[in-house]
Amino acid sequence: MSAPGASDSAHPETWPLWEVFVRSSRGLSHVHVGSLHAPDETMAVRNARDLYTRRSEGVSIWVVPSEAITASDPDAKGAFFESPAGKNYRHATYYTASEGVKHL
């Protein structure tokens, strides 16, 4: 596992990379919108405002250093996400006996 977007240590970037999350309106979650470079967190938030909310797309911004993100291994996809497979009894649609009965 490694941080996505972390720069090659032989060619370090001048400024670190940040991932940006925007909450589009009150009551909704912050959603990942993209990334940017900035020297520190204050500048990252300001740059994110200019880059990702030029048309009032958000009411709140989070920035996270890209290096701080730990991701699951895409190659282990099968094994890692295997457990819910074949367990469709976890979905409401699995139960069909109640068809025609209201409010169920």
């Binding site: 001048t14 020297p39 880059l51 030029r54």
Partner: protein
């Protein structure tokens, strides 16, 4: 030598492409797919960044405060588009600094259209209508490009780009409803930008070496000539609405093909501009280089400030 992992990776990649699915940054991909994307996406990003210059040329001379505000918003959008695309390209393993270096040392290309001068205010209209119009025509199918971060960046860009084309159309319309001198200015701008905007779709299909492979990889969805035809088809009625003429005496509807026949495009001019011998190549690159070098102290100061602030907060304590 082909390892088992590589074989598996290639099979998975082929499956993703065949099923019209998307390739994400950490998926296995062939080296030439990666290289080809880095080239195309970084050129695209550079084009957005260099593309700020021809229009910035008119910010101080915009005819009203409203037009100035609109033009500034548009130039700011171009910067934003460049940054979305640089971020997307970085997911392929190239750093931002490497891309900047390639641009300012003249090793990277950008769209040849930005090497033409903006001689009058009407050029702001013609650029919005024709250049951004051609860009949209090119970019809408790229929203479905097989490389997911590219597609995601294009979705965002296309949403913003439609304002650019409409505001350009409006500038020309206003001029065409004005004095005879204003009408001549609008027509002159259309005359100068029409052919270069058709060249934006790239060389004809039988002379476009990378196209076929890009289409197999589903990065490109339509050929250069198909997109060019589609673009001219949308322009003709728009030109009528504006009351301008398109500077191609051979342009006429071909009933049989269901598309327009175009006069010959001057591909020698295209090759010359691409090779660095266009009217403004040297100036555009010099300005970009100056901006980068003049900004060095700002980047250094910001990094020094960040380092100093970080040192002030002892590790392990909440700030």
């Amino acid at each position: 030598m082909t390892t088992a992992t590589e074989q598996e990776g290639r099979a998975r990649f082929d499956e993703l492409i065949d099923s019209d699915s998307r390739v994400e940054p950490r998926d296995w991909m062939p080296d030439d797919y990666r290289r080809s994307l880095i080239r195309q996406m970084s050129q695209h990003a550079h084009s957005e960044i260099i593309g700020m210059q021809p229009e910035a040329n008119w910010i101080t001379r915009a005819p009203s405060l409203k037009r100035k505000a609109i033009l500034m918003a548009k130039v700011q959008d171009e910067a934003g588009h460049g940054l979305y695309l640089y971020s997307a390209t970085q997911t392929l393993g190239i750093t931002r600094d490497e891309m900047t270096e390639q641009l300012i040392t003249g090793r990277a290309r950008y769209s040849s259209i930005f090497n033409y001068p903006t001689l009058s205010w009407a050029d702001m209209g013609a650029i919005g209508w024709l250049v951004d119009g051609a860009a949209i025509c090119n970019q809408v199918p790229l929203c479905r490009a097989s490389y997911a971060p590219y597609g995601r960046a294009m979705v965002r860009i296309c949403k913003e780009e439609s304002f650019h084309q409409r505001q350009g159309f409006e500038i020309l319309l206003q001029l065409m409803r004005g004095t005879p001198a204003q009408q001549r200015m609008a027509q002159d701008a259309v005359d100068r930008w029409y052919w270069p905007s058709l060249m934006m779709f790239g060389p004809p299909d039988d002379d476009s070496p990378n196209s076929a492979r890009s289409m197999e990889w589903k990065i490109k969805r339509f050929s250069n000539d198909e997109l060019r035809q589609r673009f001219v088809g949308t322009l003709v009625p728009q030109a009528e609405a504006l009351g301008v003429s398109l500077p191609d005496p051979e342009l006429r509807w071909n009933e049989q093909n269901g598309s327009y026949d175009l006069g010959p495009i001057d591909w020698t001019e295209f090759q010359e501009v691409l090779a660095g011998r266009g009217p403004c190549n040297a100036q555009r690159l010099q300005r970009r280089r100056d901006a980068h070098e003049d900004g060095l102290w700002v980047r250094e100061a910001a990094a020094a400030y960040a380092a100093k602030q970080a040192a002030r907060v002892p590790e392990g304590t909440a700030a």
